[in-house]
């Protein structure tokens, strides 16, 4: 089996004023090329921390992480990130925000015309050609998030990492973007690791749902194979028995096995 992203016995311990705090321990995960994996768990369980380890923004204090055969030593454009709060630079237009990433990845090797074409193509992929020359402050939250996705995809990353990308959006916009993401991922064959706290989102989008136990010292509790045919359609799935089964499996993990104690 092709092992594109490997998380091997990874753990991270933070030094706090109250002494060492074990956030994650013994995380083992392998993601195939082209696979869509979501990480789900209660808030504070360390799912974003795990994603940041793959991003390279945090360094594991135990274990190793490999992407396409190379160990992760720090952040890099081969692991593009879609941030929850979009993190677009407000003084650059949507086009310029994407172009900054394209220029960084392909700037040395391709002519300017090609860079512009790549940027345009990425914006077209998320249907934002018409807003290319608007500033982030002039477009809606959903559009900002689409620019964030375009920026990440334009880098042609080995792994696309998404940190609750739709968490800050309203339910309708979120559904719309999920549908678009399904199409984009199908078209580009991207490998995706996405953090979410939305059970429906996890089941609808993923090939596998990775469920994390509650922190501290969180680790992978269960992994659910979502064996639903693609392309997936949310309306058809709503009544699908297999979909319901997946959904209740995740819910059972979250609300029975990992019931969060009152804080």
């Amino acid at each position: 089996m092709d092992r594109h992203l490997i998380v091997e016995q990874a753990g991270i311990t933070f030094d706090t004023k109250q002494g060492p705090f074990v956030a994650l321990r013994d995380v083992d995960l392998t993601v195939r090329k082209g696979e869509f994996v979501t990480l789900i768990g209660h808030s504070g369980c360390g799912k974003s921390t795990l994603l940041n380890l793959v991003t390279g923004l945090l360094h594991p204090t135990a274990g190793h992480i490999f992407v396409a055969g190379r160990e992760v030593a720090g952040p890099g454009p081969d692991r593009a990130v879609v941030f929850q709060n979009h993190s677009l630079l407000p003084w650059l237009t949507c086009f310029e925000n994407v172009h900054l990433a394209v220029e960084r990845v392909f700037g040395g090797v391709e002519p300017r015309v090609r860079l512009k074409a790549r940027t345009d193509a990425a914006l077209a992929l998320v249907h934002l050609e018409h807003a290319a020359h608007k500033y982030p402050g002039e477009v809606s939250g959903g559009m900002k998030q689409r620019v964030g996705i375009a920026r990440a995809l334009a880098m042609e990353p080995k792994v696309l990492l998404m940190d609750e990308p739709f968490g800050a959006l309203d339910a309708l916009t979120r559904a719309h973007l999920q549908d678009e993401l399904i199409k984009i991922v199908a078209a580009t064959g991207s490998t995706v690791v996405m953090v979410t706290h939305d059970v429906d989102e996890a089941v609808l989008l993923s090939d596998r749902v990775v469920m994390l136990t509650n922190g501290p010292a969180a680790t992978i509790g269960e992994i659910l194979e979502v064996d639903l045919p693609r392309p997936r359609d949310r309306l058809a799935l709503a009544a699908d028995a297999r979909y319901m089964a997946c959904r209740s499996a995740v819910l059972a993990f979250l609300y029975q096995k990992q019931m969060k104690q009152a804080a």
């Binding site: 952040p75 993190s87 900054l100 402050g137 916009t173």
Partner: protein, 325 residues
């Protein structure tokens, strides 16, 4: 770079940019929301719920027009009334005899402004030269302060050790009255002109250092994460992220600094002499031509206001705060 953009219309307002209610982005937003709804074919119930609401705002009712007229009247009438009341009060006080009244001052102003650029020797020049000289000193002193203070602010903001080092010194020197620096300037630079410039420099540098430092320290972590994920070069980080993010803070520092510089120049020139507004005030005090002192005060006020407003205008063009939603 972004001068021609519609979101910068607020730059044309005279009020502080943050307080301006700014309809344009919301209009754009509405249209955008509708856009994405129309595209969503899987949710047929949505377009009806979110259909373009209405365009009632296009034709304001007579009541609204009346309200606008009253508002406009208030906007013009109130300041005019204020000025009239002020001049009346001034005339009343002048009746006591200690200061010249508005009429006498106006006549004197006509004489002063009749020939603003005459030169009768090194110490007797027109009001135009006086203003130009004062502005020149402020320009040089403030310019040097910007040249030193802004890069220093960037470095202090970027390196915590440097921040720790400079903090006690800045907190100690910042509250010192500007004129306390004048003798040091006279001693070191051995000239009245350069001592005045030195005083401007040292008293106007602090707001720029402090604001630039704060700007660098407050760059949202998100932006720096983007830089790290993209693995941008130091130069790109500076030009695409650090500099634009800090610019609004920096411009606030510049505005405060210019204000301080303009406050200080009058006092410094009183002590150092030479052609300039400050010395003019002192000179006319010795001549007991109080009308001219009042004219000088008005001129100083108008120029200070113009400097402040032009920098507010400039800062408005680079205000991204509303974009961070």
């Amino acid at each position: 770079m972004s001068a021609a953009l519609p979101r910068n219309v607020l730059a044309a307002d005279t009020a502080p940019p943050r307080a301006v209610v700014h309809p344009l982005p919301y209009v754009v937003k509405d249209r955008v929301v509708q856009d994405s709804v129309v595209k969503d074919s899987s949710r047929p119930q949505m377009p009806a719920a979110l259909a373009p609401s209405s365009t009632t705002a296009a034709h304001p009712s007579p009541a609204a027009a009346r309200r606008r007229r009253t508002e406009l009247l208030l906007k013009i009438l109130a300041p005019v009334l204020g000025i009239v009341a002020f001049i009346g009060l001034w005339a009343l006080v002048a009746k006591g005899g200690s200061i010249p009244g508005p009429g006498a001052t106006f006549d004197a102003a006509r004489a002063v402004f009749a020939d603003p650029f005459y030169r009768n020797g090194p110490n007797d020049q027109g009001i135009g030269w006086k203003v130009a000289n004062s502005l020149g000193r402020v320009g040089i002193g403030f310019g040097l302060a910007a040249l030193v203070g802004i890069p220093l602010g960037f470095m202090i903001g970027r390196f915590r050790f440097l921040a720790g080092m400079s903090e006690p010194i800045i907190s100690l020197l910042r509250p010192v009255s500007p004129l306390a620096w004048l003798p040091i300037g006279l001693l070191v630079f051995k000239g009245a002109q350069s001592a005045a410039i030195w005083t401007i420099f040292i008293s106007s540098i602090w707001p720029m250092i402090i604001n630039t430092t704060v700007g660098v320290q407050r760059i949202p972590q998100d932006y720096m994460n983007v830089a790290r994920v993209l693995n941008l070069s130091e130069w790109k980080v500076f030009t695409k992220i650090l500099f634009p993010a800090v610019l609004p803070y920096m411009l606030t520092g510049v505005r405060l600094s210019i204000g301080v510089a303009w406050l200080v120049i009058v006092a410094a020139e009183m002590l150092t002499g030479g052609v300039g507004l400050g010395f003019w005030v002192w000179d006319e005090w010795n001549n007991l031509k109080v009308e001219n002192i009042l004219i000088a005060i008005a001129v100083i006020g108008v120029i200070g206001l113009a400097l402040e407003q032009s920098l507010l205008l400039l800062a408005g063009r680079f205000d991204y705060a509303k974009d961070r939603s």
